[in-house]
Amino acid sequence: MKTAAAALLAAALLAPQLRAEEQPVRAGAGGEGFGHLTLMDDVRLRFTGYVDAGFFAAQGDGTAYVRDAGKLLHPEYQGVVPWVFLGDPWGNPINSQGDSADLGLDRTNIPRFDPIHSGGHPSFIVNMVNLGMAASIGSSFFFETSVGFEPRQGTLGSSGDQFDVDLAYVEWVPFKTVDLHVFAGKFESTFGIEYRTRKAPDRFGVTPSLISRYTVGELTGLKVRGSFFDQHLTFNLAVSNGGTFTEKFAHFFNEVDFNGGKTLSGRVSVLLPLPFTAEIGASGEIGAEDEQRSDSTVQWLGGVDLRVSIGDATLKAELLRGHADGGGIDQAASLRVTGWYGELQYQLLPWLGLLGRVDRRKADLLAFPNLYLTDELRYTGGLRFDVSWNVIAKLEYAKLVEVTGPEIPDDLFTSSFIFKF
C-alpha cells in the first residue's frame, strides 16, 4: 500500500512536468482546457492580496441620516416606535466595503461602534489590507481563502481593528467537459452581479451601490454553479445558513446559524446571442430570517440584473425588492425595501476610465426601538486611473438627495489607491 501511495504521489507531482510536454494547442479549436474549465493548471499554491488606502471628505458631520425629533415629520408613528430616523445611515460610503463616513450617535447619545467616525472631517484612511491564498489539488479541486484586515480606532478597551475571513471554500469541478462547479464552505454570493466586483481592486469605482448591502454578502453552505451552451446559460444555486444581506444596523445574516431554517438562493442568467456582450439575469433568495431563532419568520429577496458591454463601455443595472418579517420572540428587525442602480463605465483610454452611476433605495427598516425611513437618490461620478496592472487610483464624488424628508448635507468625495499582487 505504501508503494502504491508513493507511486500515486510521484505521479501527481510529476503531472505538471508531463503536461508541459503535451502536443501544441491549436488556436480556434476550443474544447477541453479552454477558458472556464481551466482552474489553476499547474499551480499548486498561490498568494494574492491588496492594500486599499484612500482619502475622503464628507459634507456636514459625516452622517447621512437625521432623527425625526418629536416625530414632527412622521406623527403617525407617535406611540408606535420610540425613535424615527430619516435618510440612510450607509448612504455615504467611503470605500468598497461600504463603511459610512460617520454613523453618528445612538438614541442615548452614546457613541456606537463606528468604524470610520470621521465627524465630517477630511481624513486619510487605510480601507483594507487583504491577503488571499489559493491552492489546487490536481485539476479538479481548488481551495481559496481570503482575509481582510481593517485598521480602525479602538474604543473603551477595544482595539477597534477588524478582520474578516470573507472566503474559505473548496471548489470541485467533477467533470472535464461540463462547466459545473461545486463549492463548500464560505463563498461568494449568488445574487445579482455586484458581488463579482465587491473588492476594491475589482470594482471599477470606489463605492458600492445603495443596494449592495443586500446582494454581496458571502454565504456559508453549499453551492453549485454551472454554465451550458458555451456559457450562454448559467445558473448558481446555494443552500446556506443565511442570506446575502450585510445590513449593519440590523443584522440580517449569521456567520453561524441561529435557527434551523436554511436559505435557498440562486440566479439564472442568459448571455444573449448578440455581436456584443449582453447578459440578463434573475436572482432570488428565501429563508428563515437571520439573527432570530424562529424557522417560520422569513426574509426574501428578488431581483433582475443587466450587463451590456459594447466596446469600451459597460452598462450595469440591478433592480431588487426585499422583505423580512421581523418580530417574534427575539423582536427581530423587519424590512421592506426596493432599490435599483444603473452604472455606466467607460474606458476612455487604456489608463483612464469614467464612471457614472445613479441609484435609489426606498426602505422601511424597523430595528426596534428604531425605525429608519429611507428614500434616497444618489448620483455618483468617478475617474479611474490604471497606473499599471497592479496600481490603480480612483476618485469619486457622490451627490445624495433625500427624496422625502429633510435634505441632509451628506455629499461625499472619496478616493482609493490600490496596490495588488
Binding site: 501544441p24 491549436r26 480556434g28 479552454f34 481551466t38 489553476m40 499551480v43 466586483t197 458591454s309 474606458q347
Partner: protein, 213 residues
C-alpha cells in the same frame, strides 16, 4: 533536328516569364512618418505554386511582458511561448476563430501554439492584464516586411488578380486590389493611418479582471 530545339527554345521563352511570375512592389507610408515596420502580404489571389513547410517562431514572456509584442507567421506555423520569468503566466486569446488558452504555467516552461487560420490575433495573460501582444497570421508565404524606408516587393507571383494588405499592429490595415501580369511589376503604394486607442480587454472568461465564482 533543328526543329525540336527551336520549338523547345520557343516554349521556354514563353514559359519562363510565366514561371518567374510577376512582382508587386511599392511603398508603405505610415501616419506620423515613422512606426513599426509594416508587413505586406497577399490576402487573396491565385494559388501559389509551392507552399513552405510549417515553421516555428518564438514569443517569450519576460519581465511581465510579451517579447516580441508583435509577431507575424504563416497559417500553419506554430509559435512557442516560453515563460522566462520566475513566476506564473497564462497565455490566451479571445479572438474569434483563433481563440486559445495555453493555461497557467511556471517559469522555464514552454508551450506551443499552432495557428491554422489567417488573421490578427490578440494575445493576453489571464493574470497580468498589462501583458498584450499581437500575432498576424498571413495566409501563406507571399508576405514580406517593408524596409526601413517603406519599400517592399513581393516576387514570383502567378499572373492574376490579388488582394494585398499592408499591416502594422498600431495602424489601420489597408487593402488594395492589384493585377499581376507575367514578367511585369505592378505598383501598389499604401498609406496607413494610426488606429485609435486600444480597448481595455477582458479576461479569458469574458469578464473584467477580477472575481467571478
Amino acid at each position: 533536328m533543328r526543329k525540336p530545339w527551336f520549338v523547345f527554345a520557343l516554349a521556354l521563352a514563353v514559359a519562363l516569364p510565366a514561371a518567374a511570375g510577376g512582382t508587386i512592389s511599392g511603398t508603405v507610408t505610415l501616419a506620423g512618418g515613422s512606426g513599426p515596420l509594416a508587413v505586406v502580404y497577399v490576402e487573396k489571389g491565385p494559388e501559389p505554386a509551392t507552399r513552405a513547410e510549417p515553421a516555428r517562431k518564438d514569443m517569450d514572456q519576460r519581465d511581465t511582458d510579451f517579447q516580441p509584442r508583435v509577431l507575424w507567421v504563416r497559417a500553419g506555423d506554430s509559435v512557442q511561448f516560453t515563460n522566462k520569468d520566475n513566476f506564473y503566466h497564462n497565455v490566451f486569446s479571445p479572438t474569434p476563430g483563433n481563440q486559445f488558452d495555453l493555461g497557467l504555467y511556471r517559469g522555464g516552461v514552454a508551450k506551443s501554439l499552432e495557428l491554422p487560420r489567417a488573421g490578427e490575433v490578440d494575445v493576453y495573460c489571464n493574470i497580468h492584464p498589462n501583458m498584450k501582444a499581437k500575432l498576424l497570421v498571413v495566409p501563406d508565404g507571399r508576405s514580406t516586411q517593408a524596409a526601413a524606408d517603406g519599400t517592399y516587393s513581393l516576387t514570383g507571383l502567378p499572373p492574376g488578380d490579388y488582394l494585398v494588405v499592408a499591416w502594422t499592429a498600431v495602424h489601420e490595415p489597408v487593402r488594395r486590389e492589384v493585377r499581376v501580369r507575367a514578367g511585369e511589376t505592378a505598383h501598389a503604394d499604401f498609406s496607413l493611418k494610426a488606429r485609435g486607442a486600444e480597448s481595455a480587454h477582458l479576461n479569458k472568461n469574458g469578464e473584467q479582471y477580477g472575481r467571478y465564482k
